[in-house]
């Protein structure tokens, strides 16, 4: 399959063209994207800091996750949709941008880390009570998550400075 042709087709669609050529459409979608990302990273850091054991120690991990993660997911959906719309406006250029590609790889890493945590690291979570430290696997998952999401934001910001 010819990826270049597919990307070219994508950015030539009505949606892609409209976003690219309209002066205010791109900035508005981008602003929504920024707001969504800010909430994804901000809320996930609440959970990660608890996993690492430096904040919200007075709240059980399972309870904190149950309270906060729905908002993380909601914000992520908005970020993904707005991101996809932004991508279609200039698919060929973004697909060749180092920081965009890096950001996608980092997102995959974040997902991978999350999957591993939910499959194995989370075992015994019902015993991680209030004011208790979590097992090493959970601390690691939290630290990796924070590092990856911080990098997602940094890479995302650098896309704008490196578009040719």
């Amino acid at each position: 399959m010819d990826i270049e042709a597919a990307l070219q087709w994508l950015q030539n669609t009505a949606v892609g063209t409209a976003i690219r050529e309209n002066e205010i459409l791109f900035p508005w979608i981008e602003s929504v994207h920024v707001l969504a990302i800010v909430l994804v990273v901000g809320t996930i850091s609440i959970v990660d800091l608890r996993l690492i054991g430096v904040a919200s120690l007075d709240r059980a991990v399972s309870r904190l996750m149950r309270d906060v993660l729905p908002y993380t997911w909601g914000a992520f959906v908005v970020a993904a949709i707005s991101g996809l719309l932004l991508f279609t406006s200039n698919a060929v250029t973004y697909a060749h941008n180092f920081f965009f590609l890096g950001k996608m790889i980092l997102l995959a890493l974040a997902g991978f880390n999350m999957a591993i945590f939910h499959m194995t690291g989370i075992r015994g979570i019902e015993h991680w009570g209030v004011a208790q430290q979590t097992p090493l696997a959970a601390k690691t998952a939290g630290a990796v998550s924070l590092l990856v999401w911080v990098s997602v934001i940094v890479f995302g910001r650098w896309i704008g400075f490196t578009l040719h």
């Binding site: 900035p27 981008e30 602003s31 920024v34 707001l35 990302i37 800010v38 909430l39 990273v41 901000g42 809320t43 850091s45 609440i46 904040a55 919200s56 007075d58 709240r59 309270d67 906060v68 908002y71 911080v150 934001i153 940094v154 910001r157 650098w158 400075f161």
Partner: protein
Amino acid sequence: MNPAIGKSLNDFCAWLDQTALSQAIQATNWVVPTVQSIHILAIAMVAASALMIDLRLIGVFGADQPLKTVSSRFLPFVWWPLLILFITGAIMIVGEPPRSLKNPVFQIKMLLLIGALTVTGIFQIMLRTNSSFAGASRSGAGITIAVVSILLWTGIIFAGRWIAYYS
């Protein structure tokens, strides 16, 4: 804008632009993107923390906990990152004085910020001095504060992004 204020602002920007620090920042290509990234990360902490408190005020988040508990958990993560925001913001202003100070979108952002800080301050004072406000699971005043807060922080984030488009 009042012409006298406009002229002083112009003069200030011209002066700031010529300082050694400003020239040094302008001479690099990595300072502004790096400082912006730190700025965005700090906003993430502030916005998410303010949102959790606001959602508690509305009664949809952590409603099993007293308002004071949720507030104590998240308020430090509103105020401390704000310090980082001011420092990184100052660096960006010094690095690009006209882009920020003379930009109406930036000025609006600062007004909204003053609003958000005021609302947060009012909330903290009410929490400390008004026991029925602190003890209620939900209140009209609390919901009002929450909605205004959410609108202000959203406006600040949008304005932040739009600075670049108004230059």
